[in-house]
């Protein structure tokens, strides 16, 4: 019989190297996310970055309304929970009176690209030196699977039962492309977390964004994470991750949309 560590029974654990462990910046608690949901992965990446950059004592996060409304129960950093759509206004308020602190917002697509569009655009237009994390899963998960501003044409949701018709419900919004052309944005990138490879790249991008804020380089750093919603999409996690590769990334291609000028 091997030893038990945090409830895990494993043979000869004491003779093994620890190659992966939970960062202390994540609460030691199960998340409320559905199995396979991208939120858990992105939470972990942000908390690992905060840990690795040694900025826990200086970081304040802002949680949105949506599935990640309880982010502060999982992310063990100081946090404020904002009204629906207002995360970046709240983040602006914090950063303006505490400019030396590190501030990030975490929002879904309804929050950032529908009800909070004005706050999104104007926060970036002012070039607030914060990190904005945008979870784009193309659906309202928390309220039960309604159409999001980023729902793809033809996709069935509970409020587009015949599939999204662009002539009736408009187009899937490309808000990240809009953000990238704004003078106030500094670093704009679109990442995903549907494979080991994309997870690694996404973490690198998040770390870069926080580093820009620490360096006090002018402007907003913005990361869209193309995410899944197995429950809302009515798919298994594997099918959902496959849909991202096969459909979503055609419309929302990955990569940097704006990087700081060389030598900046």
């Amino acid at each position: 019989m091997g030893i038990t560590r945090e409830g895990i029974v494993c043979e000869n654990l004491d003779e093994m190297d620890v190659v992966f462990d939970r960062t202390e910046v994540l609460h030691d608690t199960p998340t409320s996310y559905c199995p396979g949901c991208s939120h858990s992965v992105v939470h972990r990446l942000i908390m690992e970055v905060i840990d690795e950059l040694g900025i826990l004592g200086d970081t304040i996060g802002v949680a949105p309304v949506g599935c990640s409304v309880f982010a502060y129960h999982f992310m063990n950093v100081d946090m404020q929970q904002a009204a629906h759509g207002r995360a970046t206004a709240v983040a602006t308020g914090i950063k303006r009176v505490l400019p030396e602190k590190i501030v990030f917002s975490y929002q879904g697509d309804g929050d950032l690209a529908a009800i909070g569009t004005a706050e999104t655009i104007h926060t970036i237009n002012r070039g607030e030196n914060i990190v904005m994390i945008f979870i784009n899963n193309g659906i309202y998960g928390m309220t039960g699977g309604q159409m999001a501003p980023t729902t793809l044409e033809g996709d069935v949701t509970s409020t587009t039962p015949l599939g999204r018709d662009i002539y009736r419900q408009g187009h899937a919004i490309k808000i990240t492309e809009m953000v990238a052309i704004m003078d106030g944005s500094y670093y704009v990138t679109r990442q995903a977390v549907n494979s080991a490879k994309t997870v690694r790249k996404c973490k690198k991008a998040i770390k870069q964004a926080f580093q820009y804020q620490i360096d006090g380089k002018g402007g907003t750093s913005y990361i869209e994470v193309v995410s899944n919603c197995p429950s809302g999409w009515k798919m298994t996690p594997i099918e959902a991750n496959k849909k991202i590769d096969e459909q979503v990334l055609d419309y929302y291609p990955l990569g940097d949309l704006k990087t700081p000028p060389k030598g900046a």
């Binding site: 826990l56 100081d78 308020g93 303006r96 009176v97």
Partner: protein, 357 residues
């Protein structure tokens, strides 16, 4: 002795806020409060604070929310339609117990209404305003001097009770010029230590702080509700403020707040010249409302006249306070019109005829 200055109400309020140590001002232009925003734009950054013009009142109140969560003294100001837009954020702040100073320089409504003065937002101010069971501390100045004085009190009470405090002014008080003196006020002596709940980063690895107004478990939410209601009772017990003018021998009591108390003061003089003994009770705090004082006065006066610049809002609280023991009459003007002293005297005379025995 401080120097006397001639200032607009909006500017006096802004100057007082800077002297009271405001560190963040977030606002959006709207008549008739824009001088306040402009005064902050010109003066706040050079005097230790941050001014930011938001993209909307919705954004402004949420910036106040965020900045308040750091423990700094922060504020916003607006006028009626703008304050309607802020209500969601105010409700969140009330639940999360975030202190701040709010200013509503009221104009006539409903709708886009008029830019002229009004007291039509009384209900919104004292009954909550946004969704859910909450109250604000509501202070009602009636002069440029009080536009300044109530700022210090407003910040102190907001900090003491962790509650948004509202100064309910109006377009005339905001725009008119009077002399004002700024009292000695040592900010450091008034600041409250908020470090056990503010979100400023987990310095030295201390436990996490988070600010929220979300409590999905009904048992927990009810606990929060009970806590808030207890706090409001405490405020009611400790913080009621009013001005009593010639109430001792009064047969007719005028109840009026803010600008309408100024017209009422003139009406009092005119009525007394005609031999009718009139007194005024002027609530300075609209929440907490001076119900006990009203109840006490209702035993010595013969009739009450409530004068407001609306269709009759505070009059409901007066009636709730005094019950049916005594006639309560109402006189109001709306749409930006101000009750004139002679109109008030006419109402007083009619009421006096009814009640004198």
């Amino acid at each position: 002795m401080a120097k006397k200055l001639l200032m607009k109400g909006n500017e006096a309020l802004a100057e007082a806020a800077i002297r009271a140590g405001v560190k963040g001002y977030f606002g959006y232009p709207i008549t008739p409060q824009s001088e306040l925003l402009e005064y902050m734009a010109t003066n706040l950054d050079s005097r230790g604070g941050v001014f930011l013009q938001a993209e909307s009142e919705v954004a402004a109140i949420n910036m106040v929310y965020g900045a308040s969560g750091t423990g700094k003294r922060v504020m916003t100001s607006t006028s009626s339609p703008g304050f309607s837009l802020m209500q969601e954020g105010v409700s969140y702040m009330a639940c999360a117990e975030l202190p701040c100073l709010l200013v509503n320089v009221v104009r006539g409504g409903p709708g886009l209404g008029t830019i002229q003065p009004s007291q039509g937002d009384y209900f919104q101010a004292v009954k909550g305003g946004g969704h859910g069971d909450y109250k604000l501390i509501v202070l009602a100045p009636n002069s440029v001097q009080e536009m300044a004085d109530l700022v210090y009190l407003g910040f102190d009470l907001a900090d003491k009770y962790r509650i948004p405090t509202l100064i309910l002014s109006d377009g005339a008080l905001g725009q008119m010029m009077e002399s004002v003196e700024f009292p000695e006020y040592n900010v450091e002596e008034h600041l409250v230590d908020h470090s056990n709940w503010t979100t400023v980063g987990r310095e030295n690895g201390r436990e996490q702080h988070y600010i929220t107004s979300l409590h999905l478990l009904s048992e927990k939410m009810e606990e929060i509700n009970v806590h808030l209601q207890d706090k409001y009772k405490e405020i009611q017990k400790n913080e009621t403020r009013f001005e009593s003018i010639q109430t001792k021998d009064a047969d007719i009591l005028i109840v009026a707040f803010g600008l309408s108390s100024r017209s009422s003061q003139k009406a009092l003089e005119l009525a007394r010249e005609r031999g009718i003994k009139v007194g005024i009770l002027r609530p300075i705090t609209l929440f907490p409302f001076p119900s006990d004082e009203l109840k006490r006065l209702s035993k010595s006066v013969k009739g009450i006249l409530v004068v407001e610049m609306n269709a009759g809002q505070m009059v409901e609280d007066v009636r709730l306070s005094v019950g049916s023991n005594i006639p309560v009459d109402f006189y109001g003007r709306m749409g930006g019109m101000i009750p004139q002293p002679d109109e008030i005297v006419e109402k007083i005379t009619n009421l006096y005829k009814q009640v004198k025995k």
